[in-house]
């Protein structure tokens, strides 16, 4: 169990403030088609909403319109606080630059995904500190 104290190594891609409740969506996401830019929720869900969360997912896929969706999420105040991914591609980086969303690669991604659901986290330098939400 990830009961506080788990530390994950990160590779900063776009460094920035990254602190809050983890939302783990353990798959690749096509922001166009799979995320509603107005609500910030994954399509056909009401509980998986990225706004204000530390979004943990494998990486981006699909349409190159994604940066505009991330930009719209920022403008609609529904952007994630930051993103933690297994792998990056240029399109996701562009979207995070445009949407002003800090982006990190988690080097032990699977350990974080398997152990850290319903937890909170904070990035310090190149380290992710996971703890119970208060």
């Amino acid at each position: 169990m990830c009961v506080g104290g788990l530390r994950a190594k990160l590779r900063p891609v776009i460094p920035g403030v990254c602190k809050g409740e983890l939302l783990i969506v353990d798959r690749y996401i096509s922001f166009f088609g799979e995320v509603d830019p107005v609500t910030g929720c994954l399509k056909n869900t009401t509980d998986l909403c990225v706004g204000g969360k530390v979004l943990v997912f494998r990486g981006s896929r699909g349409s190159t319109v994604a940066p505009y969706i991330l930009y719209a999420l920022r403008k609609n105040s529904k952007a994630p606080t930051c993103m933690l991914v297994k792998e990056v591609e240029p399109m996701l980086v562009a979207g995070c630059v445009l949407g002003e969303i800090p982006l990190y690669v988690v080097l032990n991604y699977h350990e974080v995904v398997e152990a850290c659901r319903n937890m909170c986290a904070e990035v310090e330098g190149d380290e992710l500190r996971v703890h119970k939400c208060t």
Binding site: F32, G59, G62, S63, P67, Y68, A94, G95
Partner: protein, 393 residues
């Protein structure tokens, strides 16, 4: 990152706000991707053109760049819009025509060629090892894999920035040592007639490395387009080495793993079953039809048409409205809904359907998510035959 004196001037604003902001975006993305320098591009292709995709925030973004001096420095083409530019489609909803016109006016005024297509290689086939900055995932993978050109999956704003500056960051697939196929994918199913779109969706879902795909060299244009576009939709592939198709001096092969894709694995990627009574839309043209495919559809309509068991829609580049006017006329007379410069993935539909029957894995991937319909992949001939003669004939 090393910048030339000219690039430094641009970044400092000597060429205006738009060029400085555009270069800043490229430098920041490039820096994060590990680029050490920029590279000149010969052709930018801008995605994020459809108003229903980019919305008002995207429109503001584009408007800002135009108003503050953003203009094309290199040959630039643009993706489909959300309206049918012929005005003759009964399926594509043109309700957003006024907003789309605003987007189009901005892009055209920036000096972009208003081709409104996802197959920019129809207008300017790239050269081997030529550096491009293309958005549109299906076009990117086609440029790298079929023409041997060099482009990353640029997000729409980066492709726009590359057009305004003439540069993109030199990282990823712009560098030869990154164009290495490490997973060999054998697909006996393709020779047995399994639609390439289903294979593409499977590869996108299961393979992360650049694949070296064998057994596909006899695919026609339609098959290659569908295979590649599907991989780029369900995955994030920008290059697949297709044995017998990809130009030899544009990649390296260092195989570390081998995968044989069995027919059974592809079954779930064929999509949903069609029930009797379903309102069926047959759809061909994702990505937009190449002229060879257009002629094939005409032949099939002469053989099986007209569509009596469902609607049949095709989508083509905007320029076909003039270049292939007589062919489009014949198709319309034969009962086909021809939409120009758009497609159902980037637009809204006027009519409700229960199921889309298509040759395109990409269309299946997005139609289900965007329009909430069932979708099924079959070959091009089966699409036409089914909507003309019925699903079981």
């Amino acid at each position: 990152m090393y910048l030339t004196k000219d690039q430094e001037k641009m970044l400092s604003g000597e060429y205006g706000w738009a060029a400085a902001k555009a270069l800043e975006l490229i430098v920041r993305v490039g820096g994060a991707m590990g680029a050490e320098e920029l590279v000149e591009v010969k052709h930018a292709h801008v995605s994020g053109v459809s108003y229903t995709n980019v919305g008002d925030h995207g429109l503001e973004f584009l408007s800002d760049f135009y108003a503050k001096g953003g203009r094309a420095r290199v040959y630039t083409t643009i993706n489909p819009g959300c309206v049918d530019y012929s005005g003759l489609s009964n399926i594509i909803d043109n309700d957003f025509a006024a907003r789309q016109m605003l987007v189009d006016n901005i892009l055209q005024s920036m000096g972009f060629k208003p081709v409104h297509t996802c197959i920019p290689h129809y207008h300017r086939p790239p050269l081997e090892n030529e550096h491009l900055a293309w958005g549109e995932s299906s076009a990117v993978i086609y440029a790298n894999s079929v023409f041997g050109a060099r482009t990353n999956r640029e997000g729409g704003p980066v492709a726009l920035s590359a057009s305004i500056t003439g540069y993109t960051y030199k990282a990823g697939l712009h560098i030869e040592s990154n164009r290495v196929a490490r997973v060999k994918v054998e697909v006996p199913a393709i020779s047995r007639g399994v639609p390439p779109g289903a294979l593409g969706l499977w590869i996108g879902d299961h393979i992360r490395e650049i694949p070296y795909i064998t057994g596909v060299k006899n695919l026609d244009v339609s098959g290659v387009k569908s295979l590649l576009a599907s991989m780029a939709a369900s995955g994030n592939h920008a290059l697949a080495v297709l044995n017998g198709i990809t130009p030899r001096n544009t990649y390296r092969v260092e195989i570390e793993d081998k995968v044989v894709v069995e027919d059974k694995a592809l079954e779930e990627y064929l999509g949903d079953d069609i029930s009797s009574g379903d309102r069926v839309l047959g759809y061909v043209g994702c990505p937009h039809l190449h002229p060879v495919e257009l002629l094939k559809v005409v032949e099939l309509l002469r053989k099986y048409g007209p569509p009596r068991k469902g609607k049949l829609m095709i989508t083509v580049p905007r320029e076909y409205a003039i270049t292939f006017q007589s062919i489009l006329y014949e198709l319309r007379v034969r009962g086909v809904d021809v939409a120009v410069g758009t497609c159902p993935i980037v637009s809204r539909l006027k009519e409700k359907f229960d199921v889309v029957l298509t040759n395109s894995g990409k269309a299946l991937f997005y139609m289900k998510k965007i329009h909430g319909v069932k979708a099924r992949i079959v070959g091009v001939e089966e699409v036409v035959k089914c909507v003309c003669r019925g699903f079981k004939s």
